[in-house]
């Protein structure tokens, strides 16, 4: 079940996994995600479907090591199996021909951005993509993104690749230069917050894809709730993409830290088990 076919490291902390999941490969659309549980004692975590190969019956996941589960996942080998994998979850991205689309991806946010960029391009849009990360080795999927973008601007905090600066600097340059009809932002919550503040200034409709904490992913638990336009929404079934202008990012950022102490404890326990 859910055999891992291929593993590729993008950097020390970011890994691409190709996993056998024929049904999901067939039914998924850009914007969809899955939830997996590595083994009997594992937790359920959501990951975006970065790509799928219907013929081979596989889906591609890109995971960044941030805690116990993602670390264990990134250390899995071809031939290993993931015990539970369910999907596709969430609402698919609304893709149509709008004109020019500005796609902004930060860190591993580029993984979920890839199928969306591809979708917008295939729908006949001009697509300008900004890839942003702290440094060169954290820029992922650049070649794949280039394949589906008319132009790619790379921004790094330290200037080790592309230009030095934040995602917003690159985005503003594009907005000032040409008419942008729609923006999509995926990455860390802070990055999406500031991108959204920028595009609001220019009245550009913007979608952000939220990474709220989840358990079931089917609308059953409410762990993933976020405030959008003053209303409570469940990211897993109502999202994960929402109108960025209406998202309460500050609340999202606080909620992402909801289990920080427990996650830290879990990580320390895990590190003990691997060193023994």
């Amino acid at each position: 079940m859910n055999e891992i076919i291929n593993v590729e490291s993008f950097s020390e902390n970011v890994v691409k996994l190709v996993v056998k999941a024929p049904r999901i490969a067939r039914s998924r659309k850009p914007g969809h995600f899955i939830i997996l549980r590595i083994d009997e004692k594992g937790e359920r975590i959501p990951l975006t479907i970065a790509a799928a190969d219907e013929k081979a019956g596989t889906i591609t996941l890109v995971a960044q090591k941030v805690g116990v589960t993602s670390k264990r996942l990134c250390e899995m080998k071809p031939g290993d199996s993931i015990l539970d994998l369910v999907g596709p979850l969430g609402k698919a991205t609304h893709i149509e021909k709008v004109g020019t689309v500005l796609a902004c991806g930060g860190g591993v946010g580029v993984a979920p951005l890839l199928p969306i960029v591809e979708g917008f391009k295939k729908a006949g849009n001009r697509v300008v993509t900004i890839l942003a990360a702290r440094s060169k080795d954290l820029i992922i999927l650049e070649d794949e993104i280039r394949k589906w973008s008319d132009e790619v601007i790379v921004m790094t905090d330290d200037g080790s690749h592309g230009r030095k600066g934040l995602v917003t600097a690159g985005a503003e340059e594009v907005i000032k230069r040409e008419k942008v009809d729609e923006c999509v932002a995926i990455g860390p919550a802070v990055m999406m917050k500031f991108t959204s503040l920028l595009t609001q200034k220019y009245n550009i409709p913007t979608q952000a894809s939220l990474n709220a904490i989840m358990v079931d992913g089917t609308g059953m638990c409410g762990a993933c709730r976020v405030s959008v336009g003053g209303q409570t929404k469940f990211t897993c079934v109502d999202g994960p993409e929402f109108d960025a202008e209406k998202i309460d990012f500050d609340e999202l950022i606080l909620r992402l830290g909801g289990y920080k102490a427990e996650e830290k404890e879990a990580f320390e326990r895990f590190m003990q088990t691997v060193t023994i």
């Binding site: 594992g42 589960t69 059953m220 762990a223 709730r225």
Partner: protein, 467 residues
Amino acid sequence: KDRGLIERVKMPEMNAMKRVCYQDREVNLGLDVQSAVREAQRCMDCVNPTCMEGCPVSINIPKFIKNIERGEFLEAAKTLKETSALPAVCGRVCPQEKQCEANCFYTLKLKKTPVAIGYLERFAADYERESGQASIPETAPKNGIKVAAIGSGPASLAFAGDMIKLGYDVTVFEALHEIGGVLKYGIPEFRLPNKIVDVELDNLEKMGVRFERNFIVGRTASFDDLKAEGYQAFFVASGAGLPRFMNIPGENYNGILSSNEYLTRVNLMNAADDSFDTPVLKGKNVAVVGGGNTAMDSVRTAKRLGADRAMIIYRRSREEMPARVEEIHHAEEEGIEFINLTNPIEYFSDENGRVKSMKVQRMELAEADASGRRRPVVIEGSEYEIPVDVVVVAIGVSPNPLVPSELPQLKVSRWGTIDVDSETMQSSMPELFAGGDIVRGGATVILAMGDGRRAAAGMHQYLSEQN
């Protein structure tokens, strides 16, 4: 001998101070043979057994109890299984005091405590299971017709049991990684041990029912996909999994969660056990909002996770609490604080966004309205704050919208429940039947099972006409 003079048996239970130290030890220990037989002797074998009218699936109560009295415990279990798919579960979780036992001759006519029908049901079912002589029911020759059940809660399990006996090829699809629905992710071990549910699942599997976990019908595959794979009819029992919140200020602070999230973390994900990766918040001052079974399960879980204060905040009084009486009683024994006639109106947080207190207001009950319920009304100026670090909101659930949202042509009520014919459980789409909480809103295990059985009969009729 005068049956009416025998005192109702007391259920032996684990000492309250001891049991709150364990998340997974069952509170009720079960009757021994001697006390079960003695309790059975109380039953008058009424000519007109009113108790049966109180049971949603009309179990032949006097018959199974007489079997116990005669010492024929396996026969008693057989009688139960004629009508109920999961007697070991219902004996534990049915609200007997509102159903069979409320209608017992003792309650109605003698004004005495009723025959302990629930305890006896549990006894017979447990006896059969532990004897290792549980019979696998016979199944008709395979008819090769594929049918699907969606969701794996009690409604689907009852449906699957009946359909497999009729010779159908039955697959149960479940979104989660475990089979059992609320029986697994909701109701805690201390009330319903998983191994009891698992025995029933094993039996269904042995009879030939297939279970597909991690499969969301409508997403992983569409109804049309499944039809193309040969499924001729569907039983939708996707439950009432959508938690309600109160929409009051501060409700999205960290530390405030739905009972579904709280119980799922502990029951489905084993979060209370450090060797499992899923975290759970262990609060010192835990408030649970609500007065139903879900609220009781949550507050008693909080106590077991080490809370100093585990509180129920309920806007009506104890008499109106919808929870099973036994659970309220057990909660009281365990030192749960009941802050009744009180309602939260706002939450406050610390600088990290973690809840630190809740503002509540006192309520009083007005005269009964047309529906006969006494409505809680606010006492002006009665607000005060309660310090809390975890709040569990257990004020009810709405029907799971997943299936209806995939089938625009399916008729649903304005509350989102699926409309069905109450006899056949057939929906507005002829090949689609539905039952359990997705039809009733939040109801009970036994009602869900009754629906599953009626749907099986309805679908069998329908398919017999089609094929």
